[in-house]
Amino acid sequence: MNAQPIHFKPSEGFRARSKAVVDNPFLRQSFRGAMDFLMSKRAAQFPDDEELQSLRSLGEAIRQYNLAKLPELLERLEANLTRNGVQVHWAETPDEANAIILGICQRHSAKLMVKGKSMVSEEIELNHAAEAAGIGALESDMGEYIVQLANEKPSHIIMPAIHKTKEEIARLFADKVLGVDYTDNVDALIQIGRNVLRQKFLEADIGLSGVNFAVAETGTLCLVENEGNGRMCTTAPPIHIAITGIEKIVEKLEHVPPLLSLLTRSATGQNISTYFNMISSPRKPGEKDGPEEVHLVLLDNGRSQAYADEQLRKTLQCIRCGACMNHCPVYTRIGGHAYGTTYPGPIGKIISPHMLGLEATSSMATASSLCGACGEVCPVKIPIPELLMRLREEAFSKPHADPVMRGQGAGYSRLMTSVWRSWAAVYRSPALYGVVTWLGSRFGWLMPSKQGAWTSVRVPLKPAPKRLRDMLRERG
């Protein structure tokens, strides 16, 4: 496994970052309102539970079918894209992906890259790499544009600027966009963004986009978007570079409609997105528009690690709708930035360990009450709570040779392991359990009034003076 060194460990400072949001009533209210809105939009799209469940089963089956054939499909995709004139590149790490993209830019002496929304480009931190190479990278999705102006990262995979109020955006535009006066009229703000971006689409040397579904049998890249900026990025500049993870592949065109329907309904509560682009080739001789070159960068970045394990492979079923975050009580409390990972929320907790290793992410797996809301809404039925338990096991078990995950055992603690061993010794033995719980019931009054984190917001736990078994014995 060729893994990139990590400069940032999301686990470190996670509790402090969470606390900062939890202690901010304004942010708490703002996230709650936004998530309520998204949940109600999705619910309105699925009034019939039976239809929803059969569609989810179909989505799951399609994703599992395609993952089962992934190596073969990747080869077919490459062959068919190449036949169509699209140049295919393989990147194992973010650094490799950046080198490929910047290499293309440099070959064309590119000065400006205009970007459609792509979480994989966030994953590889392309904007930083481009800046370091002297190439401008401008986000053209409105949310991403806002986040870029604010010098922040997306806090949600679908709605990158969901953490910002319109007043904050108004101030940001007035401060950062030349010749703009303060307005918190949403339509006016959108118009400001459009005016800036329109010119950039024409100036840009490179258009970069993500991919929602790559169809192997036809060599087609499908792109879902709402603002038309995706179409601009992939048609106006002379070079189009698409980047995606290796798992976003389907064999057949007929696999796309059910997944698309699940995606837009689960993500934004839309029947269908405003734009759906299918890109099959660069401009052909005699055609008047379209890029002269189209490239696809296929990124691994830990995905093949997840793929190698039957259970962890389910992580790769994800179609990146974000419904798991919208329904997550933890995400609702702390927002996306607290996670410190490119992908926040439940999906972030299960995919990030493969990208960054468990050493950097081990505490994130514990940040779930396992309530199951994510698994319940996942359109492709990823058993997220089950995977979180598996990641806990991988993180806390004693490091061993030949682990399935990078960083296995990173959270291992001899003390914690011996606590659970002692717990098991007591609870597997009725005699020991009897003695320990009897002592608890008799000396419950000795329980300390401070019980660590439990009593930070709760009264202490005290065993009842009589156990149920004592009460039953007395009753006879």
């Binding site: 509790r15 969470s18 606390k19 939890v22 708490r28 009580p329 933890v330 409390r333 702390i334 505490s363 797996a365 514990t366 940040a367 779930s368 009450s369 396992l370 309530c371 199951g372 809301a373 698994g375 319940e376 338990m389 990641l391 806990r392 096991e393 991988e394 993180a395 806390f396 078990s397 392991t417 659970w420 061993r421 717990w423 098991a424 007591v426 609870y427 597997r428 033995s429 009725p430 359990y433 719980t437 608890g440 660590g452 984190a453 439990w454 930070s456 917001v457 709760r458 009264v459 736990l461 065993p463 009842a464 009589k466 156990r467 149920l468 078994r469 004592d470 009460m471 039953l472 009753r475």
Partner: protein
């Protein structure tokens, strides 16, 4: 998950798996559940060797330790009787996770699968098997019901508690905001991520209190420990001497309402 409605005939005997939380912290709820079942003419058997379903270790990432404890519980129910559990969370562990926990042990896996089909959450058993229609003997009151995430999403029994309370003619069931949201307990989650868990239980208690209900009832003592523990802490912080949000297990509530 939808539950199969092809249920066994009314049994004469059941096993009662009390759960370690009820045995040690809420024994009254266990007694009330047993009494409630006995009043329906059921002989209730309490295997004295029972301890814990193993869930705390299982969800914390220690499946080996969970397996040792779960293996012991597998031996406790030799007769083909239903196993009634007054907790959606522990019932979910036994019904849905035991077969997975023993996936690599063919003998125990077979035992776990045989047990799995006999495991019922208490309110599910009362409604779906006993067809229990509680007759209300109490005066007018308003309560609010908190359903655990395991009861709702793993066991799929979020409607049975609601139905039982709905049958009580003098009881008004209030509806809290964000009803289906987790209370923030989550076992070791509450101590590993106390800030997030604390925020969740704070919001849950606020939503429950905002209904104006005089008490909260739940079929899961893990949630009650968390919800009532926070409500009492808040009362102490704010100098209240009477609980602003009393609560109890649904078995205790049902038993009292149906006692003359």
């Amino acid at each position: 998950m939808t539950q199969s409605k092809t249920l066994p005939p009314r049994p004469a005997d059941v096993y009662f798996f009390a759960t370690c939380v009820i045995d040690q912290f809420y024994p009254g709820a266990g007694m009330d559940a047993i009494t409630l079942l006995e009043r329906q003419g059921i002989r209730v058997h309490f295997p004295e060797e029972q301890t814990c379903c193993g869930q705390p270790a299982y969800t914390s990432g220690f499946p080996d330790e969970a397996r040792k404890v779960a293996a012991h519980q597998l031996t406790l129910f030799p007769q083909d009787w239903p196993v009634v559990v007054p907790s959606g969370s522990c019932a979910g562990m036994m019904k849905h996770h035991y077969p997975m926990l023993f996936a690599a042990d063919p003998v125990r896996k077979a035992q776990a699968e045989k047990l799995s089909v006999r495991v019922y959450e208490l309110t599910q058993f009362l409604v779906d098997v006993l067809n229990f229609k509680p007759e209300d003997c109490g005066s007018d009151c308003t309560v609010v019901l908190h359903t655990s995430c395991s009861a709702r999403r793993e066991m799929g029994v979020h409607l049975t508690g609601r139905q039982l309370i709905g049958d009580l003619k003098n009881v008004n069931l209030a509806q809290q905001d964000h009803e289906s949201e987790c209370c923030g307990f989550g076992g070791t989650f509450s101590i590993k991520q106390p800030e997030i868990s604390g925020a969740m239980v704070e919001d849950k208690v606020k939503a429950l209190k905002a209904t104006g209900a005089e008490r909260v009832v739940s079929a899961d003592c893990g949630c009650l420990m968390n919800i009532l523990g926070h409500a009492a802490w808040k009362d102490a912080q704010e100098g209240r001497t009477t609980p602003s949000l009393p609560g109890e297990h649904i078995a205790s509530f049902l038993l009292r309402r149906t006692s003359k």
